[in-house]
């Protein structure tokens, strides 16, 4: 076969490749990057509906004086800082227990702990709202065993509302992250653990000296995903606490939604706030990757 013919063949295949990936790549371009740029442009405008005027950086200065938005940032970061580490540590512990070769009923335990992932976010938010309601089963239990004298209104008190959201998030997502760690652990040779055991390493030492270092890439990935997800928290804030009491548990996405579609729509201002989330996601992912690299 001559050289020119080979060239045309590979050029043809090169073109075929572009045809194959074109629809998918085009859709991502139009559905993610184009709106992102439009959101940025929109964030420098103000007005209602189609009647938008340029306003410089007014939207950006406004949001830091907006008490509700500042509250929503604080709430979101509270969820992030408290919930994500607890969840990841818990998921790691569960995964390393379930990875034990001699454990019985392993599949059953895994299925049960993973089961919350089968529920939709709205569904579990509504379940937790009912469990923690004034006349819900948690109050009934606490009153019956004598911890409380009368039902405590978890969802209408500032801190308890936030903590209920964290409990709900832990319930829904711990098993999800555990599955990542389990699949990561399967790639670690069991003989490594056996060798550690022969050398007299305790379970705690094995966990810190073998499991965590070898799972580092997976831990980094789950940390980035959880951070990303928490910064965009919406369904729980809407359906569990409705952002209440008095916006004490509202998340950034929930407030942006309200600003765009619930109150008099102010797309320019909402776009500016949403752009802040984009920057936060990017910065935090970058920082986490940096920290992840350093420990090498």
């Amino acid at each position: 076969m001559g050289k020119p013919k080979k060239m045309t063949l590979s050029r043809k295949h090169n073109f075929t490749g572009w045809v194959f990936l074109a629809p998918g790549a085009f859709l991502i371009f139009v559905m993610s990057f184009v709106p992102m740029v439009r959101a940025l442009l929109l964030s420098f405008k103000t007005g209602v509906g189609a009647d938008m005027k340029p306003c410089g950086i007014m939207n950006y200065t406004r949001m830091f004086q907006d008490a509700v938005f500042v509250q929503s940032i604080k709430n979101t970061f509270f969820y992030l800082i408290i919930q994500v580490p607890i969840m990841l540590i818990f998921a790691l512990i569960l995964a390393s227990i379930l990875n034990n070769k001699n454990l019985r009923f392993k599949g059953l335990f895994r299925t049960m702990i993973f089961l919350p992932c089968a529920t939709s976010l709205v569904a579990y938010a509504v379940i937790f709202r009912s469990l923690f309601a004034n006349n819900g089963i948690i109050n009934l239990l606490l009153v019956n065993i004598g911890i409380l004298d009368q039902p405590y209104s978890f969802l209408t008190h500032t801190w308890s509302a936030r903590i209920v959201i964290i409990i709900a998030l832990l319930w829904r997502w711990t098993g999800y992250n555990m599955v990542f760690y389990l699949s990561g652990l399967q790639n670690i040779e069991y003989s490594v653990y056996e060798a550690a055991k022969i050398d007299g390493a305790s379970a705690v030492q094995t966990f810190f000296k073998i499991t965590i270092p070898l799972l580092k890439p997976t831990i980094l990935l789950t940390a980035i995903m959880s951070t990303n997800g928490t910064l965009q928290l919406f369904d729980e804030s809407v359906n569990l606490t409705d952002g209440g009491p008095a916006n004490a548990s509202i998340t950034m996405s929930h407030y942006i939604y309200n600003m765009s579609f619930k109150y008099v729509p102010n797309f320019g201002y909402a776009a500016a706030m949403s752009f802040l989330i984009l920057v936060l996601v990017a910065v935090l992912a970058f920082l986490q990757m940096k920290v992840g690299d350093k420990r090498d």
Partner: protein, 268 residues
Amino acid sequence: MTKGKKFGMYLFLCIVSFISVFPLYWMVSAATNKSAEVVAGRLIPGGYFFENLKNLLANQNVGRALGNSFKYAIILTIISLIVSSLAGYGFEIYHDKAKDTVMSIILLAMMVPFVATMIPLFQMFSTAGWLNTTIGFILPTVSTPFLIMMFRQSARSFPHDIMEAARIDGLSEIRIFFQMFIPTMRSTYAAAMTITFMNAWNSYLWPKVIMTDSTSQTMPMVVANLTQGYVTDYGMLMLAVLICTLPTAIVFFCLQNAFAEGITGAVK
């Protein structure tokens, strides 16, 4: 391991499993009981299921919402699988420098939060007349970096000799994809299918934005509607939650391993 330690480990697992399962058990039991009994703390399934169902159907158009949810989720899953696997395959099998660059740009889209694109998308879609339509529901998530990456990873294991042999036999490139790649990668498709269907079924923010008409509402939206009001009928509410959860729960139980592979799929 000592006996005490072993006992502690099983006890711990049992407690965690109990906490994981209890809210779902409570949902099922509440769906079959009268609201007053649920509030009184009854935890055994009762005989009030059909009464709850009657109340629920009188209150919300569950049939329509279920139909909508199935329609949106199934169409989205089918198109998404075709588009993403074609793209993943194209990126891997015919890869060169330019395509790798495009791929890394696409991966950046993973970092773009949905709220940051939601408002322009809403504007674009309302101008295009896509509010309350299936195309409006599916377009933003029909092609995702995650799925493309997942299919790209799996295409890596697609043997090149088979492709060469097929080419010599005169099979066109697109037929190699449909007749050889898809059947070989059945497990990747199963994983991608479960994850896409579940995400589509569970999505809430985007439908809430774009489905402005009550006739196009999805099942999660109907559940959310039921919580608006002063007195909650727990039996009816939990029945709605149960109906909303059943399809994903069935997928979960039938395809648990595919689902686990789906969420971790692109990582390997």
